[in-house]
């Protein structure tokens, strides 16, 4: 798939709020998958490269990734007001909804059909996250570290977190610093 050369941008804070509310309400079992699709492919506010860069910052910093990503995208278009509006869009309506659900859930917690449906939705949500990662992977082609290095770093990261279950707080600093130092060297020719 070819990335379109021209990007759009939200016309107003209202459009930003509506877009993020709509996003959040479509995000079952996590919002990242739908965020990538809507922001990069439907509204074309960001390229895949932009999305990966923003997500990288959002993942390294503390706090919910999608919350960090929302406010950074809002800030990019409308400054601090955009950050607040994007955050409000991402959180306000879902917050009301989740509290209503919490009130209802008590009565259906033991229901096998409800439990089964939640289980099936969980399986799909997990797959959506993996599918999003596969869609974003082509941005690595233009990475200055080169494809073999990118593939190795990604494989090590996956193995440490998913297979060995090492703590993120250990893996992220060590692997992250190593990768950034390597990239620094590549960007400057010979260090």
């Amino acid at each position: 798939m070819q990335e379109p050369p021209r990007l759009a941008r939200p016309a107003s804070l209202v459009e930003l709020f509506v877009a993020f509310t709509a996003l959040a309400l479509q995000g079952f079992g996590g919002v990242l998958a739908i965020a990538q699709r809507v922001l990069c492919e439907q509204r074309r506010w960001l390229t895949r490269e932009d999305f990966v860069e923003i997500l990288a910052v959002g993942q390294v910093l503390p706090g919910p990734n999608i919350v960090n990503v929302s406010l950074m995208i809002g800030d990019r278009f409308f400054g601090w007001r955009g950050a607040l509006v994007a955050l409000a869009g991402m959180l306000s309506v879902p917050l009301v909804l989740v509290l209503v659900l919490a009130a209802i859930y008590v009565h259906y917690a033991q229901n096998a059909v409800v439990a089964g449906a939640l289980n099936g939705m969980g399986a799909v949500a997990a797959g959506m996250i993996v599918g999003t990662a596969l869609k974003l992977a082509p941005v690595l082609r233009s990475n200055p570290m080169g494809r073999p290095a990118c593939a190795s770093i990604a494989a090590i990261c996956f193995a440490c977190i998913a297979l060995l279950h090492w703590p993120l707080l250990l893996v992220l600093p060590i692997l992250g610093i190593a990768a950034c130092v390597f990239a620094w060297g590549r960007l400057g020719g010979r260090p």
Binding site: R37, G63, L172, G176
Partner: protein
């Protein structure tokens, strides 16, 4: 429900403010510490209420971090939800905002470009790892087949994600996974 003193409120709010800084990788990372605080230490929630909070937030649309709001709500009503949600989000959001500004202003710096390049494969691998951990938490091949099918559909097709979620709900409700 709520019979908390002002000191209790401040203690709870302050604890969530601190926890916010530890939530690298998402709010779910600090769930064990919240369990210690809300269930074991203060007894504001039962074990069942704690687990239900996470399940509800994952089933509902929107960011999963809202499980924190559900916990606060179950412990002390709307005010409780406000205290835990604002507490967990305020410090990390300020940090993210500052970092965003800082890096935007220095886009051309070699260090900033090195960070973006170096972190890109890690960012993508973390997504795959998250999906893997979620998918393998529940045993059974049918579960894995559903996850794989969803991943392929997102990757290769333009099927609406809500359609996929609905299929998952139906398949699950029928007891097939």
């Amino acid at each position: 429900m709520s019979s908390l003193s002002l000191a209790d409120w401040l203690h709870l709010f302050g604890h969530f403010l601190l926890l916010s800084f530890a939530a690298i990788g998402g709010a779910i990372v600090i769930a064990p510490e919240m369990h210690r605080l809300m269930v074991i230490q203060t007894g504001l929630l039962t074990d069942a209420q704690f687990s239900a909070s996470i399940a509800i937030a994952q089933a509902a649309p929107g960011p999963n971090v809202l499980f924190v709001a559900v916990m606060g709500y179950q412990a002390a009503g709307i005010a409780g939800a406000a205290a835990t949600t604002i507490g967990i989000m305020l410090p990390s959001s300020f940090l993210a905002f500052a970092a965003s500004r800082w890096s935007q202003a220095r886009q051309d710096w070699r260090a900033v470009r090195a960070f973006k390049a170096g972190m890109a494969p890690i960012t993508i691998a973390l997504l795959v790892a998250t999906g893997w951990i979620l998918a393998t938490g529940t045993p059974g091949w049918a579960h894995l087949v559903l996850t794989t099918a969803a991943a392929l559909a997102v990757w290769r097709t333009r099927v609406h994600l809500l359609v996929l979620i609905a299929i998952g709900a139906v398949v699950g409700a029928l007891g097939w996974v």
